[in-house]
């Protein structure tokens, strides 16, 4: 017998006896989850307000702009303020074209995923799958945000989001993933909540442990 079989024999044998369910049993419904979880607002304005507050508390930056020309203006301002030299992005409806407008050496990860080069970039500009108001979270995947390293290796991660990507809470975000991808999940799905951080030295918060030191989220209304 294989070790798999041995383990299953032991599991099945163990489960012939029933354990008491001291806290009840049965998987909770999404409504039950929502009744206990942190409250979120009803209207879109409330959701944006909550998201912005959460992002500020996380020491990340949230900008809401009217159209793509304003997105480009925000990016240019960041480029000049931080003196970006090299930019990384991925193929996407808006990320690549926005990144090109910066007129800097550009790395598009689908064409070149050389990790040494990606590490030299000052910023990773990506799209996302959703924004979660409840926690100030950005949802990205390896299919829709340029693989695994782009959202984590460069020191500054800039997320370009669209207004309709805002979802109220985590249960909605989980539902969205399942509806969007069905059985064909990307190999990585990541919920990013603020820039990389650690408290491992005397519980003192330090931003930029291994991943990005800065996270900027620009949400475009049109």
């Amino acid at each position: 017998m294989s070790e798999r079989d041995n383990i299953f024999v032991r599991i099945k044998e163990a489960l012939t006896l029933q354990a008491p369910a001291r806290h009840g049993h049965g998987l909770p419904t999404i409504e039950e989850q929502r009744r206990v979880m942190p409250p979120v607002g009803q209207t879109e304005a409330e959701l944006f307000e909550l998201f912005a507050k959460n992002v500020t508390d996380l020491r990340a930056t949230f900008k809401r702009v009217k159209d793509l020309s304003e997105v480009a203006a925000e990016l240019r301002a960041l480029r000049d303020a931080e003196k970006w030299q090299r930019v990384a992005t991925h193929r996407g409806a808006i990320a690549e074209s926005q990144a090109r407008e910066l007129a800097l050496p550009l790395m598009v990860v689908e064409e070149n995923s050389e990790k040494h080069e990606l590490e030299q970039c000052d910023v990773g500009i990506t799209e996302c799958d959703a924004l979660v108001a409840q926690t100030g979270t950005v949802l990205v995947t390896s299919r829709t945000a340029g693989g695994r390293a782009l959202t984590c290796l460069p020191p500054h991660h800039v997320v370009l989001a669209r207004r309709e990507q805002m979802v109220p809470d985590l249960p909605a975000a989980m539902q969205l993933v399942q509806q969007k991808f069905g059985d064909k999940y990307p190999s990585m799905i990541s919920f990013i909540t603020g820039a990389s951080r650690t408290g491992d030295i005397e519980r003192i918060l330090v931003l930029g442990a291994h991943g990005p030191k800065q996270l900027t989220i620009i949400c475009c209304d049109a």
């Binding site: 909770p28 991925h90 985590l170 399942q178 990585m188 291994h210």
Partner: protein
């Protein structure tokens, strides 16, 4: 070598007298408590959330065979290689086999308590592989040659000066004792390693049966990079890490963050469901998942303690435990310290050798009260005591029997009882002369504590005085 019990006693004695250590831990725990409580209030109904989490874990653990089958089928369908190990050495051998096939020289690792459990680093180093821990706390304790101090905060017991010292000694790079500068030293060192490493090894916080994914919760991004840059990714996990459905994460991700670190959500909560897919820019070419039993099925077979398999390793019970806070994490002498460690270690290792951990508890129940998945922790400690002391004869020891016989004689005779208590009240006046010395019959207690004085008046005497009801 001393027995685990003797080692525990010696270390506990030393650590409880170490006031600097206690101050460090109290400061860290104090900060944690404030944010944890804020976050609990952020939930609409925290107690309700605990019940839902307990229910979810009940379904997960009690349907483990079906969930594991579904989990591994889904994983394999998308190109992941699944391995099974009954014991720690088997798991090490499987991982070594993968490393050999890849001719791997450098391995970067993100935090995994399960790998500590099976002493994976030792096995890999013995085979000549360089293993680099990438979680900052783990990186620090690895440099010091120590095991992690805490499930969530491995270097919690160290001050910034001690960390600066070890960086200076081992890395020759420690500009100051500023936490930010020290963190940047580790960042620079490890970035090189992620890029250089042939294989990345991670743990897992959850295994989602429905979709065939593992989920990793972290703050630093080290697990993200470990899973992104090396060509081969290996995940080592216990078979009990199952969650039945993807949507269960909506509840478990924030609950783990609240209890673990007092955050709403940790920085990165990431699910991995396979190696790099054809439409993706990067990622490992191979993804291996190693599922470890290592006597977890023994816990499963014990219906009384089966709920202990629901543990999400948040460390909340360690943080509230008055014993843990005084004796410290290393005193337990085991990977899983604190209350939950005292429950499962006698199962995962040996009941008789590790039964002393069940006594390292005041049974105050703070652990059970805080546990986010509702594990009956302090009662399990009592059950361990019972299981450990009900062996061969089924009887207590000879001297215990004699003591209780004498007690029985006194307690059954009210006159004698009165006499003894009066005598005790009288003789206790002279106790101060011998207190804590070898002449003191209560030395075991009074060495480090005060014996409370016997009341000047017994209840019977008081009642009599109130008006001769007798």
């Amino acid at each position: 070598m001393s027995s685990p019990a003797a080692q525990f006693k010696a270390d506990a004695k030393r650590m409880t007298a170490d006031l600097r250590h206690r101050a460090t831990i109290q400061t860290a725990m104090g900060k944690y408590e404030v944010v944890r409580d804020q976050r609990k209030r952020w939930f609409q109904d925290w107690e309700g959330a605990r019940t839902l989490a307990a229910r979810t874990k009940y379904e997960a653990v009690n349907g483990l065979d079906a969930h594991l089958t579904q989990f591994t089928q889904k994983l394999e369908a998308r190109g992941t290689k699944v391995h099974w190990a009954s014991t720690g050495p088997q798991a090490c051998e499987i991982i070594l086999g993968i490393l050999k096939a890849k001719n791997a020289k450098v391995v970067v690792k993100s935090k995994s308590m399960t790998s500590e459990e099976i002493h994976l680093n030792g096995a890999l180093e013995q085979a000549g592989v360089e293993v680099v821990e990438s979680d900052l706390g783990e990186f620090i304790v690895q440099l010091r040659g120590e095991p992690p101090y805490h499930l969530v905060f491995p270097a919690m017991h160290l001050t910034r000066d001690e960390i600066k010292d070890v960086f200076e000694k081992k890395l020759h790079d420690a500009p100051s004792n500023d936490p930010e500068e020290l963190t940047m030293v580790a960042r620079r060192q490890l970035r090189r390693k992620y890029i250089q490493a042939d294989v990345g090894i991670t743990g897992a916080n959850y295994a989602i049966a429905e979709t065939g994914m593992i989920a990793i919760t972290e703050n630093e991004g080290n697990a993200r990079l470990t899973a992104a840059l090396p060509k081969t990714m290996i995940t080592l996990m216990g078979i009990e890490k199952i969650l039945p459905r993807y949507e269960d994460l909506a509840l478990f991700l924030p609950m783990l963050a609240v209890m673990g670190t007092g955050q709403a959500l940790t920085c990165y909560n990431t699910m991995y469901g396979g190696p790099r897919q054809s439409d993706e820019a990067d990622g490992p070419e191979e993804f291996h998942v190693v599922l470890l039993d290592n006597r977890r099925t023994l816990v499963l077979a014990d219906v009384e303690q089966r709920d202990a398999l629901g543990c999400i390793r948040c460390g909340a019970c360690l943080n509230v435990c008055p014993v843990y806070r005084n004796v410290g994490g290393h005193t337990y002498g085991t990977v899983y310290g604190g209350p939950i460690g005292s429950v499962i270690t006698p199962r995962l290792r040996d009941l008789q050798d590790w039964k002393h951990l069940s006594y390292a508890s005041s049974l105050c129940g703070a652990c059970t009260e805080t546990c986010p998945v509702g594990i009956d922790i302090h009662h399990h400690l009592l059950r361990n005591r019972r299981n450990a002391s009900a062996p061969k004869t089924g009887k207590p020891s000879w001297w215990q029997c004699q003591l209780f016989k004498i007690y029985g004689v006194i307690a059954a005779r009210p006159g004698l009882w009165r006499l003894i208590t009066k005598l005790g009240r009288f003789t206790q006046r002279f106790h101060g002369l011998v207190k804590g010395t070898a002449l003191d019959p209560a030395q075991a207690w009074t060495k480090t504590r005060d014996l409370p004085p016997i009341a000047r008046q017994s209840f019977r005497e008081w009642w009599k005085e109130q008006g001769a009801h007798e």
